[in-house]
């Protein structure tokens, strides 16, 4: 439940940017947690229970306690999320976090083991698979294209699954080839296309049924920076048209640039949820001093030197990160000890959020 929705229901939400603000979703209902820190006194916690689990037409996808097990291992372990219609929603996390499995449950390629999943008003059970899938567009992680066929042939073949025929079919295919900027290459066998172009063929294919929701699983993995940017532009254009877009990624810059809202996943669980800016504001101090130091002795010296000046710190294989409210102050503190040739100050980003929440990196 968003803060806005909470306000509408008359709950006092305080300043969302305040460091004490938390919203936590738990299985079976949404709890808005307010956690207020007042000096050395114990936390004052105010619980507000709301229940808006009934079919909500404004909702594209909703999951409660969603779980998927493979043997003993829970690939997705009781996750809750709500994706509103028209949203650009992201799942950010490293490989193996359970993002793809979550997507596969949404597009009905794998059964739900436990919990509830509603997609476009339908409970995700075998009886409604066709209904759900007819309103979804899917761009999977792997290239699953007929390599010998051309982009146009592929669109022709797959248009039949959506009942497109005659003039409607021709127009739709022409539109999609134009949108994906594939007109020049429409007659080349897919095997001859670059990764970026193949991805665009997959996106065009996913859009054939004029879906309400487009699901993309790591769409830019393996693409060069230029192809990534080109793809981002396409996705932004789609989002502006009002298509709900659900995307998984392990690139924090991608999530930050594209997503209205996102969840951070790790080891099958959702560890945080919010807007990119909100997640950063809620979880990490705004500025980071990043220093490249491989040697342990120098690291110890830096740790001691910074002491309480750094509000938080992270140790990576080749770098030390010190967080604070004021980047310049961090840098000044460094200069008191040594020079700053191997150091830089930057704003905190989603990767820092991920580090602070999980203690390890995204890739």
């Amino acid at each position: 439940m968003s803060r806005l929705a909470l306000r509408e229901e008359g709950f006092e939400c305080g300043d969302p940017a305040a460091p004490w603000y938390r919203t936590v979703h738990i299985r079976g209902g949404v709890l808005g947690f307010r956690v207020r820190e007042s000096g050395k006194q114990p936390f004052e916690i105010q619980l507000t229970m709301t229940s808006r689990m009934a079919d909500d037409p404004g909702l594209a996808i909703e999951a409660r306690g969603l779980t998927k097990r493979y043997g003993d291992r829970a690939a997705v372990d009781g996750v809750d999320f709500r994706i509103e219609r028209g949203e650009f929603f992201g799942f950010l996390g490293p490989n193996g976090a359970g993002k793809s499995t979550t997507m596969r449950m949404i597009y009905r390629a794998t059964p739900v083991d436990d919990g509830v999943l509603r997609v476009l008003g339908h409970e995700a059970i075998p009886q409604s698979d066709r209904a759900i899938k007819s309103r979804l567009g899917v761009v999977p992680q792997e290239y699953n294209l007929d390599e010998r066929m051309t982009a146009r042939e592929i669109l022709e073949v797959f248009s039949r699954f959506y009942g497109l025929r005659g003039e409607a079919r021709r127009t739709r295919i022409a539109e999609l080839l134009e949108f994906a900027e594939l007109e020049d290459r429409q007659a080349s066998p897919v095997a001859e296309l670059s990764g970026g172009l193949k991805r665009r063929v997959q996106i065009a294919r996913g859009l054939l049924g004029d879906p309400d929701v487009l699901v993309l699983d790591e769409p830019t993995t393996g693409l060069d920076p230029r192809a990534r940017r080109a793809l981002w532009d396409k996705l932004i254009a789609l989002g502006e048209r009002g298509t709900t877009i659900v995307l998984t990624t392990h690139y924090m810059d991608e999530a930050e640039k594209l997503c209205d809202r996102l969840v951070v996943m790790d080891e099958g669980k959702i560890v945080a949820e919010g807007t990119p800016a909100g997640l950063i504001a809620d979880n990490v101090p705004p500025q980071v001093l990043e220093i490249v130091v491989p040697e342990a002795a120098e690291r110890r010296r830096l740790h001691e030197h910074f002491g309480p000046v750094a509000l938080a710190r992270v140790e990576l294989a080749d770098r030390l990160l010190f967080y604070g409210a004021d980047g310049e102050a961090l840098l000044r503190r460094l200069f008191e000890l040594r020079d700053g040739t191997d150091a830089r100050v930057r704003s905190a980003n989603l990767e820092d959020v991920f580090l602070s929440l999980t203690g390890h990196g995204l890739s």
Partner: protein, 263 residues
């Protein structure tokens, strides 16, 4: 339109058309062997080996006795290849089934579309064979001698369906493509050799009783009966046998595939 087993014909047709689109590119490469195969078999075995079998078999010239069985096996091969290697490649290497399953199509529609295509392929093999032997019959080598032969294309479709479904069942069970060597050497080859194509099945003790449980025996019997106009009750029994096996597999195959894909 929906068939029993929640098969959506529109979706199945879309899968069928994918295969047809792919085939169109290389059809002349594919259809040529279909033509050479019967000609080579009829020349090599019918005319070559047949020379030493002047009494013929069961009152027929050897070539006339042999040809209908080869026609049945041609349909078997056409259907089998399509639902073994070709289906496996589409399913696993090309990941095409994942792409299909992301559309409103369900696995039973896909299996049925593949089946329809395999039937067409079986008929390409079988009907080309039928055309070759019919032309030979016109020029004095009487192989196809009865108007019942007009039913042969329908029977070739049934034979194709049955072997396509058996192939699909095997494909749904295996994870590595190498396992097809067993399917070919320990299943299709013995069927080819012991189903009464080259000599009557009672050559071996209990040959007929054993053969009754195997599919190609029935296919050969039906093709031979219709070609020669020897239409008997037991021949219709073979038609029923093939239909029943096909209908059972039509339910089993989607169930198997669903267990494989939806997990």
């Amino acid at each position: 339109m929906r068939l029993p087993g929640d098969i959506d014909l529109r979706m199945a047709f879309a899968v069928f058309m994918r295969n047809a689109t792919d085939y169109r590119r290389t059809w002349w490469l594919n259809i040529l062997p279909n033509f050479f195969e019967p000609v080579l078999y009829l020349l090599g075995l019918g005319i070559g080996l047949g020379y030493y079998m002047r009494e013929g078999l069961e009152g027929k010239d050897f070539i006339a006795w042999l040809a209908p069985g080869l026609m049945a096996s041609a349909a078997m091969n056409g259907a089998s290849f399509e639902t073994t290697y070709n289906m496996f490649v589409r399913m696993t290497f090309a990941k095409l089934y994942d792409a299909y399953l992301a559309t409103p199509a369900q696995i039973q529609d896909i299996a049925f579309g593949e089946l329809l295509w395999a039937i067409v392929r079986a008929m390409m093999y079988g009907v080309v064979f039928l055309i070759v032997v019919s032309v030979m019959s016109l020029f004095g080598t009487s192989i196809v001698t009865s108007p019942w032969a007009l039913l042969l294309p329908v029977m070739l479709a049934l034979i194709g369906a049955m072997f396509a479904l058996i192939g699909q069942l095997y494909t749904s069970c295996i994870r590595v493509i190498d396992l097809y060597s067993f399917y070919y050497t320990l299943w299709l080859t013995p069927l080819f050799l012991f189903s009464g194509i080259f000599y009557p099945v009672d050559r071996f003790a209990h040959g007929e009783e054993i053969a009754w449980f195997t599919p190609l025996y029935h296919a050969v019997r039906v093709c031979r009966g219709l070609s020669h106009g020897e239409v008997t009750t037991s021949m219709w029994g073979s038609v029923v046998w093939m239909a029943v096996v096909s209908l059972v597999l039509l339910r089993v195959v989607p169930w198997r595939l669903r267990r494989r894909f939806f997990r």
